[in-house]
């Protein structure tokens, strides 16, 4: 079966190839489905759940759910975006995300997603305020997992693209976090040029010596909402 088929996202007809996920088909069609753990070129994880859509009435992660002929998908609606905002708020409250002092501000996908989802009112969740040790052992790379959102992009990039396995998850539940393959980052084969070091959506993995080299105001999300690149593809 290689024939493409069609389904609908928010009433818009979209074409998909067999085996494609809802998100892959949406991306190709220029429809943006918000996501944080997913990243182009990496295995889908389905962990952050920000891409949750309703497909045939069921809530599914668009990044892992295969598209099906005739499927009706609900994506950009107030109800879906409210739930997504809850998830983004959870991530903010789980870690320590202090945008004004973070190098990633303006390039940060978590921050950008908060803007896109209109996380403007004060939140109702409690702050968990973790206190995790910062790993600055590596000459080129700093790791501050207080800003980690457990998206696992670095893990997949290191394993699948760099062929290394520098990162991995340890622990369970709320204690689950990203850790490194050794006593600290300096005791791993991590390198500045690894793909794993380029895919962090937040300010958890930072390259040393690059602080604020792009001024605020000229950063990635200063030019448009997150997702505008994908939406620009729409015909």
């Amino acid at each position: 079966m290689t024939e493409s088929f069609r389904f609908r996202i928010d009433g818009v007809e979209v074409s998909a190839a067999p085996g494609q996920t809802i998100m892959e088909a949406a991306d190709a069609a220029g429809i943006y489905i918000p996501r944080l753990c997913d990243h182009e070129g990496l295995r889908h994880q389905g962990g952050c759940r920000v891409c949750t859509v309703k497909a045939a009435g069921r809530s599914v992660a668009a990044c892992t759910q295969p598209a099906e002929p005739g499927l009706e998908v609900e994506n950009d609606t107030p109800a879906r975006n409210r739930v997504r905002r809850d998830l983004v708020e959870m991530l903010f409250h789980e870690g320590n995300h202090l945008c004004p002092i973070c190098e990633k501000s303006g390039n940060c996908e978590l921050q950008a997603m908060a803007y896109r989802l209109e996380m403007t009112a004060s939140t109702r969740f409690p702050w968990l305020e973790p206190c995790r040790e910062v790993d600055a052992s590596h000459p080129d790379i700093a790791l501050d997992t207080n800003r980690c959102i457990s998206c696992g992009r670095c893990i997949r990039a290191s394993q699948d693209v760099d062929g290394k396995g520098v990162f991995g998850y340890v622990g369970r539940g709320i204690h689950r976090r990203v850790a490194v393959n050794g006593a600290d980052l300096a005791h791993t084969d991590a390198a500045r040029t690894d793909h794993a070091m380029q895919v962090c959506p937040v300010g958890c993995i930072l390259l040393k010596g690059e602080g604020f080299s792009i001024p605020i105001g000229e950063r990635r999300f200063d030019h448009g909402l997150i997702g505008h690149e994908i939406e620009g593809r729409r015909k």
Binding site: G46, V83, L87, M90, L91, P126, F167, V170, I174, A183
Partner: protein
């Protein structure tokens, strides 16, 4: 790579031998780490390095597994580890006194290891002995019906150097493995039904299956209307059919004996008294779908049944009903291995169970693909509950129509109910589906029942107005747990406990379950402290809805149930603890603690907010 020097560590030869014993196979990681834990009492950094290089994975992959399971430790544990079950039923049955006795006698607090390395004392969630709570695991054995006196006696005997087996199983050396299991825990079979707990002929289902073609076996199961007995109630025939019809080199049969739902213990009794029937059912399933290998995933808490189950398997091989050419049929080869778990409720989820069998952290897999098309090691895998396989064996013997005739329109056959809590006769009851809850409560002697948790924490908490509801998939669905709470019990204490259970057991893979459950627990704590206002009820509902809608697996899809079902069935409990804010400031906001940090840094007191401004106080500390 880190290689801390550990003078206490024997040479790595022992660890390499363990890895070699499991074929240096990374899929056997859990077995390898369990063996190391047993020998060394912890998984040291050096051990992780050694395992990583022996089986050919990264050190962080080993650490990912070692840090996931509660029974594996990254700090040295005592020579004897005592795990006290701190389920709500144990708490309501005198856990405090038992804790006090162990702490006093061992000289350590829960969570600690004694300085001489003799003992570790811990809490662990439900160990499947709610009908004889308070209960505890002592290494691989179990102790039940603990009291202050018996706990003191056990601790003293252990301190005197006697082994857990000597202390817990009198005459253990002269007993068979089955007798040793029975000596540790009562079966408490209160009512034996027609299908499982009554008299069962040997191999009858197996012989019937021998006469049938694989497709015909599946038809019999289809005719019976058998549905999964673990809780979800998926139609068994569909799983078997899908696995059989997925083209593959190999297929697997996986028996879910990870009975982790608090308040459920019927699989423990089946595995003790009807182990043959379970293996028979698995063997029949193997013939039906074309599998040659099976795994029984036994929760770590049931390690005390391991010898018994191995003995049953060995006897079956010797009798020619397991292994090569079963019942002489040249086309029927099937064998079973037991995978021991290591303290992770999530492994009861079929994808997580498969991950665990593959030597990975027990994280659910992305669905689709479903296990029946891509399961263990990527091959079609049928995952059924212990009770489901036992039923299947009986169905093959007695026929689909026999089973179908029992129960209700959508719930056929009998079901084993695990009844515990505030009742006179806790234990296992085998009843046809469709009985009103009230009838089961009467059998169990639960006269003062005010609230009943049906299906465990992921099920429904109902009140007296629901006691006429029926125990069936159509109405009150349950994997078997029926936990009775009398009018003396605090509903919110129960809800709070169950949330702490889910927080502890969430795998952490997805955001809503990992983070949302923590928030849900904090919100309930707020109610318990009397700091909630009307908005908080709406908050509980909203947060629950998000967790349910977006979670990746059944754990998060059901973890808010204690909150939602108590809100629905016991709204007054919440209303009584909710008060409107008098001054518009949230009651949870404590100005004193909010400014405490700043006060300390400034070494100055707030003239406005400090009620003790006039008193002398040393702020430098």
């Amino acid at each position: 790579m880190t290689t801390q020097t550990e003078p206490s560590d024997p040479p790595d030869a022992e660890i390499l031998a363990v890895c070699a014993r499991f074929g240096n196979d990374p899929h056997r990681m859990l077995d390898i780490l369990l063996a190391i834990q047993k020998a060394r009492r912890w998984i040291s950094p050096a051990a992780m390095d050694a395992v990583a290089s022996a089986v050919g994975v990264t050190r962080i992959a080993v650490e990912g597994v070692a840090s996931f399971y509660a029974f594996l430790s990254q700090v040295p544990k005592g020579r004897v580890t005592i795990r006290l079950c701190d389920d709500i039923v144990d708490r309501f049955n005198g856990l405090d006194a038992v804790v006090a006795a162990f702490e006093a006698e061992l000289g350590i607090k829960v969570g600690e290891t004694s300085a001489d390395g003799a003992f570790s004392l811990e809490f662990t969630p439900c160990i499947g002995l709610c009908d004889q709570a308070p209960a505890a695991m002592i290494d691989d054995l179990v102790a039940t019906k603990l009291t202050r006196e018996s706990a003191t006696a056990i601790a003293r005997a252990l301190k005197a150097g006697r082994s857990p087996a000597e202390v817990l199983v009198p005459d253990h050396g002269r007993l068979t493995p089955l007798e040793r299991a029975r000596a540790q825990a009562d079966n408490n079979i209160r009512l034996a039904g027609e299908v499982l707990l009554g008299p069962v002929p040997e191999d009858a289902g197996l012989r019937a299956a021998l006469a049938l073609a694989p497709a015909a076996i599946i038809e019999v199961v289809e005719d019976s209307g058998l549905r999964g007995c673990g809780g979800a109630g998926f139609v068994s025939e569909r799983k078997w059919h899908s696995a059989a019809n997925t083209p593959a080199e190999r297929r697997y049969i996986l028996c879910n004996a990870d009975e982790g739902e608090p308040g459920t213990f019927k699989d423990r009794v089946i595995l003790t008294e009807r182990a043959d029937l379970v293996f028979e059912g698995m063997t029949i399933a193997a013939r039906a779908v074309g599998a040659r290998e099976g795994i029984l995933y036994l929760r770590g808490e049931y390690a005390y049944l391991l010898d018994h189950l191995h003995a049953v398997l060995a006897a079956r091989r010797a009798r020619g009903v397991l292994g090569r050419a079963i019942l002489g049929a040249v086309d029927w080869d099937f064998d079973i291995r037991i995978q021991l778990g290591a303290g992770a409720y999530i492994c009861g989820e079929e994808g997580a169970m498969i991950s665990s069998c593959e030597g990975l952290p027990g994280e659910p897999k992305t669905r689709p693909p479903f296990p029946v098309t891509r399961g263990y090691l990527g091959f079609p895998t049928v995952v059924n509950n212990v009770e489901t396989f036992a039923h299947a064996a009986r169905i093959l013997d007695r026929g689909g129509a026999w089973f179908h005739a029992m129960g209700t329109e959508k719930s056929h056959g009998t079901k084993l109910f695990s009844v515990s809590g505030d009742c006179a006769r806790p234990g296992v009851y085998e009843l046809p589906y469709g009985l009103p809850l009230r009838a089961l409560l009467a059998l169990a002697g639960a006269e003062d029942a005010a609230a009943v948790q049906v299906g465990g924490p992921s099920g429904t908490l109902v009140g007296r107005d629901s006691f006429d509801r029926c125990l069936s998939f159509e109405d009150l669905a349950t994997g078997g747990a029926v936990i009775v709470f009398s009018s003396r019990r605090n509903i919110l204490e129960i809800v709070d406990y169950y949330l702490s259970f889910f927080v502890h057991e969430s795998c952490g893979y997805c955001t809503p379950c990992r983070v949302g459950n923590v928030f849900l627990k904090k919100a309930i704590e707020k109610f318990r402290k009397g700091l909630a206002n009307d908005d908080d009820v709406a908050y509980l509902k909203d947060l629950s809805a998000t967790i349910i809608e977006t979670s990746r697996c059944g754990l998060g899809m059901t973890s808010p149930n204690p909150v939602l079902s108590s809100l629905k069935n016991f709204p007054l409990v919440y209303a009584a603890l909710t008060k409107p804010s008098k001054d518009g400031i949230k009651a949870t906001f404590d100005i004193q603690s909010a400014i405490d940090g700043a006060r300390g840094i400034a070494r100055r007191r707030s003239y406005i907010f400090d009620p003790d401004f006039s008193k002398e106080e040393d702020l430098s500390t």
